[in-house]
Amino acid sequence: MAMLFRTHLRLALTSIKENRTRSFLTCLGIAIGIASIILILSLTGSVSKLITDEISDIGADLIVVRPSTTKDSITTIVEELTASNSFQKSNLAISDVDEIKKLESVTAVAPIAITHSTLTDEENTIPSATILGTTVDFNTIEPQTFRYGGFINDKNHENSVVIGPSLSLHLYNTTNPVGRTLLFHGERFIVVGVMENNDASINFDNVDFDSALIMDIKVLEKLVGSLQVQQINVKVATTSDLEETSSKIRETLIEKKSGDTNFTVSYGDDISHPASALLNIISGMLSLVAGISLVVGGIGVMNIMLVSVAERAHEIGIRKAVGASSSNILMQFMFEALILSILGGILGIALGYILAIFASSITPFAPYISWQIIAITFLTALVVGVIFGIYPALKAASKNPIDSLKHYR
């Protein structure tokens, strides 16, 4: 048995080598499907890793309050994606911040409110800049590194702002505009700090800090009128307080909102959950597309195997005449299909990671390699080989030797 196994392996390899170009093209069909699955898994893996890493960077002592409990449903997520201003239906208010701050064991509270508005300085105008309203505590919870200057503080928060590096370039054509002013809703503000490039457009605040302007939330509200608080970040004294404090926050807010429970209070890994839910849907859809391309690749394998069986009818006849059983022939062709798809799988895994590394050079997503991903994709290739190889192999095995021997080459 083991001997026949090796013989068939050698046979299949010989036949694949003899038809090099054809075999390579067949492998390529499988490889493209496998590569797209690898790419998708690597990207989604890298995105969730970015978010979890950020949360562990900030510390395990973080509680996040977000509006709406129905974030997981696809419709909500799609609505949020298509709405021009996200979190329109937020039921969090700026006054909630003060309520939470009163709780013991809470050391810092920072709301996040986003709006888009025009910024001007003497020369340039930015028509729709991202304005982030928060409190001085923001820098305590998520300490930012500053290229120049520093964060707004209790003394200057009435008339000072902090900007991201790319906004600085667009507005002032310089990297160090500390001390210069800008005009926002008719008021003049002083730039007190420029943040370091942080490249993390995916983070648990859902804000691209590089091109944002950060200012005091109460000043912002006075200027633009109504504001939507998209989340409130809370820092507690010690991690052992997390559970108790988050339930206290929940109680306080429910009481304050007279029974309204349309918000979530989360800590630890749950913080990344809304982002991962969206991610799962997107990666699911992409995987479906990759799966379809894999089926196409599998059909390629089947096609080539059918051609191979037809071409080698004479050989099959000879083999049967000298003593090959149907299962011998079945095994021979099954091996060939399996090797084609395994080679395709290996090629696809390599190709996928090359693409993932390439993607990482133009996006912030580092390639995410895990043995699970390799195992899953390898297994997928194997299953494709079995599914699409079995029919041609059965066809070969069931050939009548007398008819097959009549096929001259």
Partner: protein
């Protein structure tokens, strides 16, 4: 006296039903002893190839009894038939039927694949057999690089490499000129002298001098059946000690007797 190796009784092969019904073999009886060299002659379409294919377990009769080496093989499984083909039967065809992609050596070794011999043993046995046919210099040629006579000798080497009970040859000289035919017949003769049973179909009456028995067929039945050598004088099978998995014995040693 040599034992009966093939007993066929009332064998019928029918093609088609009703109006298209025709018989390739009709109520066919034949008994063959070990060591016979049988030549089957007859007009085209009289059922010679059909008979050979049924004896070789490539085809199945519509009805009738076929006992091969004491085993009733009429209703056995396809797997068992494949096993018997691998161990007990060697085929030689008119058009050689070598696998074009395999070297001469690998072609000869092919039957040993299906009796589970290790690769080294397979190649050793095949090489020894090829030496007997003076083809050892051609081991690594492809069949297309050989002449017709050489290809047929490779096919004969393949037929005897696993030391079968019966060798079936369907017009083995049909594609060869007279010189190549003679060399092929001489090889078959020496195989026969070692006590092997050979059943050969031919259209060439001159070749019947090699036979111990000549059967003329007509319309799926035996017309004449003449033994030129009595059963007592048939060659005895030379017992060869073939160690499984070890290529100890060679064809050369067998030939010396």
């Amino acid at each position: 006296m040599n034992e009966e190796i093939i007993q066929i009784k009332g064998l019928t092969k029918r093609y088609g039903y009703g109006d298209t019904e025709s018989f390739a073999l009709k109520d066919f009886d034949l008994t063959i002893r070990r060591g016979e060299f049988i030549m089957i002659m007859g007009p085209s379409g009289c059922g010679k190839t059909t008979l050979l294919n049924i004896i070789g377990l490539l085809d199945r009769a519509t009805s009738g009894e076929y006992i091969l080496n004491g085993e009733d093989v009429a209703g056995i499984s396809a797997r068992r038939k494949a096993r018997l083909r691998a161990k007990k039967i060697g085929f030689i065809f008119q058009n050689f039927n070598l696998i074009q992609d395999l070297s001469v050596l690998e072609n000869v070794a092919l039957p040993l694949v299906y009796v589970n011999r290790p690769r080294t043993v397979r190649l050793k046995n095949a090489s020894d057999t090829l030496r007997r046919f003076h083809l050892q210099e051609r081991e690594y040629y492809l069949p297309s690089q050989l002449s017709g006579g050489q290809q047929q000798r490779v096919a004969i080497a393949r037929a005897i490499v696993s030391d079968p009970e019966i060798i079936l040859a369907d017009e083995p000289t049909g594609n060869l000129d007279s010189r190549a035919s003679i060399s092929v017949m001489e090889e078959l003769k020496s195989i026969h002298e070692e006590g092997n049973t050979i059943i050969m179909v031919t259209h060439n009456p001159a070749l019947t001098v090699y036979a111990t028995r000549v059967i003329n067929m007509l319309d799926g039945q035996i017309a004449t059946d003449i033994k030129t050598v009595s059963d007592q004088n048939l060659p005895q099978k030379i017992e060869v000690k073939r160690t499984r998995g070890k290529a100890k014995k060679t064809r050369n040693s067998r030939r010396k007797r």
